[in-house]
Every structure is written in structure tokens, then in C-alpha cells.
Assembly symmetry: D2
């Protein structure tokens, strides 16, 4: 199995720019990468929930991985979201992603037949994926989209698989994160998946975050971590509290259209969204500007 | 636009047989079709929720449509589930399905970014799909899987599109069905998507059902409709009440593995499920037999 | 045990008029009763969910029962909602209600400690209440308010208790009602608790409804039943479909303030609501008038 | 208005001991108080969610407040849960509680007519209660029981009322707590209502917790706070992580029966629960012992 370093720092689950006609805008993506390469980021997640992944076909997915792997600054980890509903399709896509340069795979919990996705089914799925994958695997728990919360008990069972190296938890449920932190082996990479829980997660010993906010505020997110590590908790908390409302706006409230709007306002290429997502109404742009100003991001 | 007859009668959302190694067993599917052709069915749905559709790749999907269209008895409608999260991918798949013989498309509500899938986004999606599709389109509402309930208001807005000819509602929510029945034009095909609401739906004027149960009890389902039309309500109700517990077992309780188990017990080819679904534990087989006997199906 | 006739027909869960200063307006209640006595109703429910019962103290509750029992037309059943969270308090209130003239008690599922209210706890509660009550007991299932759905299995266990004579199910879940109808003894009074399911329920063999709508449209509700019994299903259905939107307005959409507004428009005394409920904004009155006209109630 | 000091430290939401026959065991309550008086606690909450409050009648409620106020060690705050569904009844009970010695009132969000309990209704309710109450008022948000989450916006509107001095938030939702902390005035007492969020809350600047766990582990809870204040974060976190599984057992998993079992094992008087709660099965006692040992509490 491939060995990769422990996760430490901030990763953007990268938005995918589209042209007006709805095609992936790979050039805009490269320009974003050039800018992100200058931000304090530990690596990149291609094909996360914020990447409009469910709207991409396989060709587009693989091209995005390839472009990212080619352009990422040296030393930065390239992760790819390769989870599909089917076990065998997930293995297949994971290994294609590996060929294109993905160093680890983030695998969404399957959730369509939610009534049947009990512990045993989930454990079986992730073990088979991890067995078949040529790169290390991370579990991805994001109940806001899957309406499924992988039980702590299942994560613990999976945490001793040699090729399952961690989990991204985007539930925002800090008590759950605490329970996980107290239950999995130290070497298991617990990664928080939302900036709304970033500061509390750091104080629970979490060392990495895959944060939508890092699409345009990676440095601020990284600074929260640095302040915590330096013991400057009050400063860390104040910065975090400033980021929380912006994070809500670009995730739960306005979703990916909000994220792309904010990113555009700060000079990244947000560009268009893909249908059935609708562009954000114009009046929202001003509200977003104000939010970014208040947070000191603009 | 293609013109197809109004929907009337029972359609199975066909299960997909897999070999032990996990490949689609097209021969078994053909044998099932030969048997279903003798059941009192109005047509077939390929790639419904009970078909393990989210586990199939595009090649497999198209082959299943093709095989079904070739083998379906003359006069039986062939529907295909072609809904994907992305609008353009849905159009593309729908038109490929049409080429393979699908006569109408059942289009799932997109649901991944559920927070953004408000009325306007849904209406826009379905209109674009209907505009681009070479065959008529039916809306497919199945909140058990999508965690999204398309609002009645959105359905009403869509019901005047010339290429949106109806909706399959699998919510099992009869008051909602009544509201819909009172709100859409007569020509709009309201189809109930679960046998748990079959008898009440018929009494609301619904004339078609796409019913998991019809994978192995199509004749019983058809008989409920005939009895209602003949005014023999007590008989209709008693038969329906017998079917309700079987329906629960093969849907909400045991899901597709339960459906395939029951179908196998009655001589259809249920065969294997695809991972991450797990086969039903052996002890359940006996319980299912008993249920089928009690219902008079065995 | 007291013996009462089987339930048959329509009962209003009576709204409670309040004066502007927030006191129960017993005189207005009597005037409502005088009018309801002329409507085609089988009896009355005092202290239902539409009675603002959680806002009433015990003195007020008992007085409302007393007034109702005194004024109800001869032969009309008087039911009282006496369910409280505690078993012993429920028994106590039930027996006080009996003294004031209640002929049967509608007992809400306890739900505060919802995580602990499993089958055994619920069965134990209802058995103890039925053992201690001097009048017959009906189970009351209303998940919209309790966020708890009593399992069919628990109802079946309770249905053989000699003093538990039925259940009001306000879930609006018709497949569930069908399952119940197929599972409980014939003598067990299944009562539907919402007009949204009235026509389908009648076709399942249900013979009684406790319907918010009956506060001002008792005759229309009764007519649906008569038409069904006379085999005039199309007429019954059309009338029911007209009532459905009005029912939604006075329950799920605008709640008790909506119910009282509609009742006032039709000459009943809706009067004021108790805080924390807020009166309906004025502009809604016009919308309600239109709804009532469309439904042929005005 | 009465002036009370800012909240700082740990408060148990006291369990209520019952005799085998179901009466409140005031003597056992006094013995508990004698022991709690020696624990490092800042005060007491009578009639919280863990007190089986919905099962108590008014006489019992007032007696419990009286006994607590008499027996509480000097300087310890006595809070009482006085929230009822009705605004006027809440005011009445609050003022009776004040007469018996309650120094501040914890007022549950009304929730029965949840569809109508929008911002305006909640704000109006709390303002009226605070206007009429003779003691300061705290908002109490506990969605696990009320199925209602008071919006941050409503809390902000209420936070400038001179007699609304804070809020207990038992949602366990740390990002929400962070949003609140960033939105309300400094003087507004944000109190965390579950030990599952105790350590993260402290790091957000929260200074008080009303914690079920403090019924039998008040010193451990107080120690987490002391360690945080002393900057010993690793020690604080490790202790917190040990407490988390115990907290889950005595709240979400086994509820009040679990809480009383654990308290009994540690020498407090848990005694019996009131029906419809059922006593914990015997086999659980051993599991609880093990949990308490692992956490270092036994």
C-alpha cells in the first residue's frame, strides 16, 4: 500500500468552474490552483461535495484530477472524492483516479437504500473498497447530503483496516467528533469537514480540515490552527467566530452558488454553476460583500 | 413529440438479477420478462428504484432497456428511469434510452443539494429535461430515497408542459395524492408508486400503479383494480389488506433483498443483489414464505 | 365498565373560544354547541388538539367538559382528551372528566421522553390508564404534535384490553390505517383524526372521524360518509377533494388560528386564541373566504 | 428586577427521587442536596428535563423548589424550570416558584403547536413572560424534547430584554453555540445544557453548564472547567473525553432511568422513576458500573 504523511492543515474541497454553456472550465480551474498554491494549504480535494461532483461525468472527473495533480504545488496532497453507490464502481473509479494522480480517495458512505445501509453493509462496503483500492482510503460522512450518519461503532471497526487511514466528518456534530476522537487509534486521521466546527475540532486534537471556506479563505482557516497551536486561544476563537457566519452563508444557506459568489468576490474564479443549481440572485452579491467585509476577508 | 396512450394498469419496477460475481444476468432478466408477459401487466419500468439502478453503469443500463424493449409483449409500454442529478446528463441518458426502445422516461427529482432544490430549481430542471427529451417525461417523486418531496405547487406548474405527461408518486401519502388529483389536469397521468396506497389511490381516480409488488404479484395487484372498477369494493379492500404486509416486507422493511427473496420463492429469478446491499439472512426466507402464504400468493 | 355504542359519524374536536383578555368564553362555547347540535354530528370531543388544551388549566378543562355534557343534544357522545405525560395524572384527570360527564377518554401518547417511549412503556402506560379509568379509553396518535408514532404492534397488543375501545389516528398515513384495519379486532373503533384522510378511511371500513373541519363543516363531512355508504363514490370523492384544501388551511398551514378564522366566517364563534399562539394576520381572512367559497362552504 | 450574579460553574438539573409507590421522596431529595452541597457546584436547577418535570403536578413542583431553597448551601443559586405551553400559566408558575425561593426561572420554549411557533410567537411569549416574572428569566432550548430549535435570530432579539438574562442551550450543537456566542451581548449568560459539549463550550467562552452528569459527577465536570481556565487543555480534554460516553449513557441512550441508576451506584439517591418511564433492566446495572469505572468515577 502507498504510504502518505499524516494529514495536517487545511484543504479546500475545490469548487468546479463551469463555462456559461455548462462545460467544465479547466483553464479557470488552473488559474484557481495557481492562486491556491500561494495560500497556506496542505493539499486539495478534487470531487468533493462542493465540486458539483454529482453533476460531473467520469471523463470530466478524471480530467479534473489530472489537471489538479499536474498543477498542485510540490508536497501538497491531492485527494479525490471517488465514492459511488456501488462497491465495484467505487473501486474502479478510485483506481482510475489513482492513475491520474490522486494520492488518497475520499469515499462517501453509500446511502441510496438507506434502510439497508446498516453497520454491516457499510463496514463491508468500505472494507471491500479499501481492499481493492491502489491508494489509501478515507471514509466520508456528510449527512447533510446523504441523510445517513455512519455510526461511531462502524468507524471504529473500520479504523483497523491497514488501507483505511482516516475519515472526513462533515456532520458538524462536535460531541460526535469527541466520541470519535476518544474511540479510534491515534494514527487514524480524523478530519473535520466544516469550518463551523474548525476551532472546537482543533481543541479536540484534530489536525486537519477539509473546509469549503478554504476555497477563498484558506489563510484565515490556517491562521486559526496556528493560533491554537501557539496557545493563543482567545485570538483563535475570535477569528473563528468571524468566519462562522461566512461559512454558514456559503454552505447551509446559499450552498455552492453562494460559495462561488464569495470566491468570485475575492478574486478566485467561481464562474457558473451547473443546472439544476441556479445562479444566486444578483441582490445576494451585495449581502455577501458585506459579510466578507465584516469577517475581515475583503 | 411522441404520443403514447394514457397509463392504465399495473407496471413492475423490475428488479435486476445479478450473477454471483455481480454482473447483470440478462438471461435471467429475459426469463423474468417471459413470465411477466403472461401476468396482467400494462408494461414495464426498467431502471426504477427497485432495479438497483444507482449500482448500474451506463452500459448496463442501456443493455437492460434494450433487452426489455425487445422482449416485452406487444402493446406493453416500456418506461425507463433516466433521472440523474445533472440536467444535461439526464437529457443525454433519456435520449440514449429512447434509442434503445424506452417509450417514456421516469425522471427522479434531483436531490443531492437538497437545500437548493426549491420549486424554481426543480421546475427549471424538469422543463429543460422535457424540452430536450425525445420521448415523454414523467416526474418521479420518491422521498424515501431522495429525502425530497416535490411540492404540489411545482407539479402543477409542470403539468402544463406538453412533454411532461404525468408523475409517479411513491410517497405513500394519500392526502397528498388527493391534493394532486384535485390540482392537475385530467390528462396528466397520476401514477401511484407503492402498493401500500394502491386501493385508496384507485378510489381517488388514479388508474395506474408502478408497484414493487408487481414483480411477483402483478395479477393480484391487477385484480384489486378490476374489483374496484366492478364496484366490488369489499372484495377489493380485503385483497388489498392481504397484500399490504407483504408489500411492507419487500419495501420498507427488507428492501430490494426482500423483494428478490419473495420473487424467487414464487418462481421469478431474484438472484443476487449487488454490494453494498447484503443478501437477506437465510432465516428470513421462512418468514417470507409464511407471509406469502397468508396473503394467498403461495 | 361503562358500555358505549360503537363510534359512527363525525365529531368535532371543538375549538375553545377565549375572550380578548384570554379567559375561556364559556358562553360562546354554549352558543357554538347550540349550533353544532343542529349539524349532523355524532358527538363532541372536548380538549382535543384543536382545543388549545395544552394552554388550559385543570379548572378550565373540567368546566369545558361540564358545559359540553350539559348542552350536548341527547344521544350525542361526549369525549374528553385527558392524556397527560404521567400515568397517574392521566388516570386522575380521566376520572374527574368522567364525573363531569365525559363518556369516554381520548388519551394522547406520552411523548416527552421520546427516546424511552418504546412499545413496552406505551403499552404499560395505556394498560394502567385503562385499568384505572372509570370510562372507556381511546388511544390518541397525533405525531404532528407528539413527534411519536405509536407502532401498529403496540396498538394490536392494546386492542384486546376490555377498556380500550379504539384509537384516533391523526397521522394522515393511509397505508398505516390500512395496516391497522387489517390487524385489530372488528370491535376496536378505528377513528380517523384528519379530514385529509376521511374519504380513503371510509373506504377502508372506518366509520368515524374526529375532524377539525367539523368545527364548521360538519354537514359536508357527514355527507361524504353518506355518499360513500350509498355507493355514490364519484360524488363522495368530488366533495372530499373540495374539502381537502380547506382542511390543509385550518390545520397544517395556519393551525388553530386558521381554524378559528374559518369558523368565525361561517357564523361559529372562533373568537381569540391564547398566547403564545398569535392571531392570524388580517390579510389572511380574505384568502380564507375565497377558499371557503371555492369549496362551496360559503 | 432582582439582580443575580453571572452564571459561572456547574449546576445539576436535579433528578427527582420517587418512592416505590410513585410519590416524590422529599427526604431522599434532601439527602441528595446534603451531598451535592459538598460537590463543587454553583447552584441547582429544580424542575429541569431530568427532573421528570412533566410528570409532576403543581403542588409537587412547588414543594421541590421550597425544599431545595431551604437546603441549598449559602451562595448557591436556585433555578427553577417553570416553562409551560401557555404564556399566562408560565408567568403564574414562575411567580409561585419565586415565592418558594427560586432565584431565576428557566423557561422552556413552548412547542406543542410547533407549526405556529415561529420567531414572532416565541419572541412574544418570552417577552411577556419576562415582563410578568418577578425573577430573571433564562430561555431554555432543548430540541431533543421539544422538537423545536429556537432560531439564533429570535434569541438575539430577546437578549436585550432587561429581565432575560441568558439561555440554556441543550442542543449539543457547538457551531450553533459559536454563532450565539458571536451574536449576543457579553452580559447574556450562555449556558451549555449537555456535558457532551462542555469542553468545547468552555473554549468558546461559555462559563456555566447545567449538566445531567453533575447529578453524580459534579466534581469531574467542575474540574474540566478549572483545567481549561488554568490552560491545561490536554488534561481537560482527556477528562472530558472520559466523561462523554458516560454522559451518552445517562442521557440519549438510557435517559432518566440511566441517570438514576448511575447516581445510585455512586451513592446518591436515584430511587424509582415515575410511569410511563420504566425502570432500567437489571443487566444494565453492570454495564453502567463498568462505564463509571472506565471513566474513573467509581
Amino acid at each position: 500500500m502507498v504510504k502518505i504523511p499524516d494529514f495536517n492543515g487545511v484543504f479546500p474541497p475545490m469548487m468546479t468552474p463551469f463555462t456559461l454553456s455548462g462545460d467544465p472550465d479547466y483553464d479557470a480551474h488552473v488559474r484557481n490552483l495557481d492562486r491556491w498554491n500561494k495560500d497556506e494549504l496542505a493539499g486539495y480535494l478534487v470531487l468533493g461535495s462542493n465540486s458539483e461532483t454529482p453533476y460531473l461525468n467520469e471523463t470530466e472527473k478524471l480530467r479534473l484530477i489530472e489537471v489538479t495533480a499536474e498543477r498542485a504545488a510540490p508536497g501538497r496532497l491531492v485527494l479525490a472524492g471517488t465514492g459511488l453507490e456501488s462497491t465495484r464502481e467505487t473501486v474502479r473509479l478510485t483506481n482510475l483516479a489513482a492513475e491520474k494522480g490522486a494520492q488518497a480517495a475520499l469515499v462517501l458512505t453509500p446511502s441510496f437504500y438507506s434502510g439497508q445501509m446498516k453497520d454491516d453493509a457499510l463496514v463491508n462496503h468500505f472494507r471491500k473498497v479499501a481492499d481493492g483500492a491502489h491508494i489509501p482510503v478515507l471514509i466520508y460522512n456528510v449527512p447533510a447530503y446523504t441523510h445517513l450518519m455512519i455510526p461511531v461503532e462502524a468507524v471504529v471497526r473500520l479504523s483497523d483496516h491497514p488501507n483505511i487511514i482516516g475519515m472526513k466528518d462533515s456532520s458538524g456534530d462536535v460531541p460526535r467528533l469527541a466520541t470519535l476522537a476518544g474511540s479510534v487509534p491515534k494514527k487514524f486521521n480524523l478530519i473535520v469537514g466544516t469550518a463551523s466546527a474548525w476551532y472546537p475540532a482543533l481543541l479536540l486534537g484534530v489536525r486537519a480540515g477539509i473546509l469549503a471556506l478554504a476555497n477563498f479563505a484558506g489563510n484565515a482557516c490556517a491562521r486559526v490552527q496556528k493560533l491554537v497551536l501557539a496557545g493563543k486561544l482567545d485570538e483563535a476563537r475570535d477569528l473563528y467566530l468571524k468566519l462562522v457566519p461566512v461559512n454558514a452563508a456559503v454552505t447551509s444557506i446559499y450552498g455552492v452558488p453562494g460559495l462561488k459568489c464569495a470566491a468570485s468576490l475575492l478574486g478566485y474564479e467561481g464562474a457558473h454553476v451547473r443546472s439544476p443549481l441556479l445562479p444566486l440572485p444578483e441582490e445576494f452579491r451585495e449581502r455577501m460583500k458585506k459579510l466578507l467585509c465584516t469577517a475581515g476577508l475583503m
